[in-house]
């Protein structure tokens, strides 16, 4: 399936190293338009602008957590369909189920590989395309 490599992606993580890694991996996968946020709280006003086609976020951040950001997105009529991928060190079963309940599209546990990221992105946008065709 062809994914639109021109889409706007928001990368949210409080560690700049992780943002750099994620951005570089996305670049390698052919994406080129990224913005960064260092917390859910700084990400949320950016997301509200409606600019982003895809959000990649960490869970554990000081002000607003990734799961909270996800809930904000899902609760907003205009934004609720934005694909949302969590990349996190949080690995308790209860947390993964909670993320699923909140409407996450993909869940990657750190440390992760480029192949895993690619696979999840493929899967997410395949499902988006399926939904649109219905």
């Amino acid at each position: 399936m062809q994914i639109n490599r021109d889409m706007n992606i928001l990368v949210v993580d409080d560690f700049s190293t992780m943002r750099r890694i994620v951005k570089n991996l996305l670049k390698e996968l052919g994406f080129s338009k990224f913005d960064e946020a260092d917390d859910g709280a700084t990400a949320w006003p950016m997301v509200q602008s409606g600019k982003y086609d895809f959000i990649v976020s960490d869970w554990n951040m000081p002000q607003m957590t990734g799961i909270d950001l996800l809930r904000h997105v899902r609760a907003d009529e205009k934004l609720k369909d934005t694909p949302f991928l969590l990349i996190t060190a949080e690995a308790k079963r209860s947390q993964i189920l909670e993320a699923a309940q909140a409407g996450v599209d993909g869940y990657i546990v750190k440390p992760f590989t480029a192949a895993t990221l690619n696979e999840k992105i493929q899967k997410i946008f395949e499902r988006v395309a399926e939904k649109q065709n219905k």
Partner: protein, 224 residues
């Protein structure tokens, strides 16, 4: 500065007189007298402090936070620091391995280019790439420095743990009787909501998935 009331001004005056008179025996005697007072005072204060400490320790319940910290949190700290040490070590090893492999590849490319017309254009780029890789390898020396610091902290924490254990046992508490830390369900779910970071201790690994495959299994049941 405060003076002890036990050292009388007369005594100091007598000391001064004895010194002025050059009476060495008398000077020493008075000096000894004064320092003796100070010593016994210090002794008294120390024994009071010790008594207080004992009393405080005796009054502690077996599940007092400080005892729980001593028994559970200090070993937890050590376990977490050890994790940092291992992970940074693994990452540096991986970085060094990949850098070495890439240096080998660049060398191979250089050999293949020998005699070709393009060599003068490409070789400088290969050299530059090798230089960058060397920089990457050198940056891994952080592992040595941070590793030494972490080892030192682990040692200090372990010693602190031993001292606290000895203190607890000396105050007639049974170290083994200090219970596990408990967390209510609400506390636990609030903590999970906030995020707990990597599950690195044996205890925190309970109920955690071990790999991405586990996550995928869990979510595929839910159609994600």
């Amino acid at each position: 500065m405060t003076f002890s009331t036990d050292i009388h001004v007369d005594k100091v005056r007598a000391l001064l007189q004895a010194m002025e008179a050059g009476d060495e025996r008398c000077t020493v005697e008075i000096l000894d007298d004064i320092t003796q007072i100070r010593k016994s005072e210090l002794h008294q204060q120390l024994s009071e402090l010790t008594k207080n400490l004992h009393q405080t320790l005796d009054d502690l319940d077996v599940d007092t936070p400080v005892l729980l910290h001593a028994k559970h949190d200090l070993p937890d700290i050590t376990e977490r620091l050890q994790y940092v040490l291992n992970e940074t070590q693994k990452a540096s090893d991986k970085t060094l391995g990949s850098s070495e492999n890439t240096l080998g590849l660049l060398e191979e490319v250089g050999t293949m280019l020998e005699g070709s017309d393009e060599v003068s254009k490409i070789q400088p780029l290969l050299d530059q790439a090798s230089q960058e890789l060397t920089n990457i390898m050198l940056a891994q020396s952080f592992q040595d420095l941070t590793g030494q610091v972490l080892n030192r902290v682990i040692l200090i924490v372990t010693e602190l743990e031993e001292s606290l254990k000895a203190l607890i046992e000396r105050s007639r508490h049974d170290y083994d009787a200090i219970p596990q830390k408990t967390q209510s369900e609400a506390e636990q779910s609030a903590e999970h909501e906030k995020g707990v970071g990597p599950n690195v201790t044996a205890k925190s690994k309970l109920d955690a998935v071990e790999s991405q495959a586990d996550v995928d299994d869990l979510l595929s049941d839910l159609g994600i």
